[in-house]
């Protein structure tokens, strides 16, 4: 008889966890946080904002998250997308208390953490957060693709 009660309690608990998770998953939460630098991240910060994604190999939604953030990075000028392999940066994972992958941090131009989402964020919400966090573009005509790792301005020789 105890077994039946355990079943009912477990399924009830599972339903509560599942519903809470569905509602919270990927939601951007405000966070007054630490400041990260390009050196810590191992990649240059975006001019206006940086989307930092923590991933692991054992993470199903990381791939879709990468697609969303890369899209946003290509769409909004001055926004860089940096993906960090959580397993090779356990120091940073502990420091920032990251418990799940994907976890996405939104950094402002100075590298301050302003938002945090665990789970796969929705594209519309990331765009809305950027509009909120990033100052209006004055020099938005400068359409350099921000996910381009090479930061040297037009050093490529014109061979054509």
């Amino acid at each position: 008889m105890t077994g039946v009660w355990v079943v009912l309690a477990t399924l009830a608990l599972g339903t509560v966890i599942g519903v809470v998770r569905l509602r919270r998953d990927g939601r951007m939460r405000e966070q007054a946080g630490d400041r990260l630098t390009g050196t810590v991240l191992g990649a240059p910060l975006g001019e206006r904002a940086t989307l930092v994604q923590f991933s692991t190999a054992f993470c199903q939604p990381c791939r879709a998250t990468r697609r969303v953030l890369a899209d946003v990075g290509a769409l909004v000028p001055g926004v860089a997308h940096v993906e960090i392999d959580a397993e090779s940066r356990l120091d940073l994972v502990r420091e920032l208390d990251i418990t799940r992958t994907p976890t996405v941090l939104v950094l402002d131009a100075a590298g301050r953490i302003v938002r945090r989402a665990s789970g796969q964020p929705r594209k519309a919400e990331v765009l809305a957060v950027l509009a909120d966090v990033v100052p209006a573009p004055e020099a938005a005509r400068d359409r350099r693709p921000s996910h381009d790792p090479s930061h040297e301005p037009s050093h490529q020789p014109d061979e054509m």
Binding site: T2, G3, V4, V6, V7, A9, T10, L11, L13, G14, T15, I17, G18, R21, L22, T56, A57, F58, C59, Q60, R63, A86, E87, L90, V93, R94, I98, T99, R100, T101
Partner: protein
């Protein structure tokens, strides 16, 4: 290796059903069978997934990385073995607790598509940075 997410979800649903039956009947044999299924799943040969593939011939719209669910089957195996030890040794709280843990994970996967086992991976790595938890292809 790629996996059909529909087959994984089906497997989680069958696992949920089996673990409910284990809790209701207290059958060590059934839990042992489920432990074997977890072990086969860890090896990438889950009989539930094979059953789905035999029944449903259509190709999946998208596939997913097979490693996370295999790791999760390994987590399930640990819980099933603990539950089995509890049943055989007559330690009822261990038997019920461990089986309930496995049931919770299977239910979340079947009903909501959340892979609890996959997500414990990073937490485990945070606790045991030196551990190698590679699942070989």
């Amino acid at each position: 290796m790629r996996a059909d997410p529909r087959a994984l979800r089906f497997g989680a649903a069958v696992t949920t059903l089996v673990l409910v039956l284990v809790l209701v009947t207290g059958s060590a044999w059934l839990l042992a069978a489920q432990a074997v299924v977890f072990a086969l799943g860890l090896a990438g040969r889950s009989p539930y997934v094979m059953l789905f593939k035999a029944l449903v011939r259509s190709a999946p719209k998208e596939t997913e990385d097979a490693r996370p669910p295999r790791f999760a089957q390994g987590v399930g195996l640990v819980f099933a073995v603990a539950g089995l030890a509890g049943l055989l040794a007559g330690i009822t709280p261990l038997a019920l607790g461990a089986t309930a843990g496995a049931l919770l994970a299977a239910f979340l996967n079947a009903a909501f598509g959340f892979c609890l086992g996959c997500e414990t991976y990073l937490l485990l790595r945070r606790l045991l940075p030196a551990a190698t938890l590679e699942v070989h292809q």
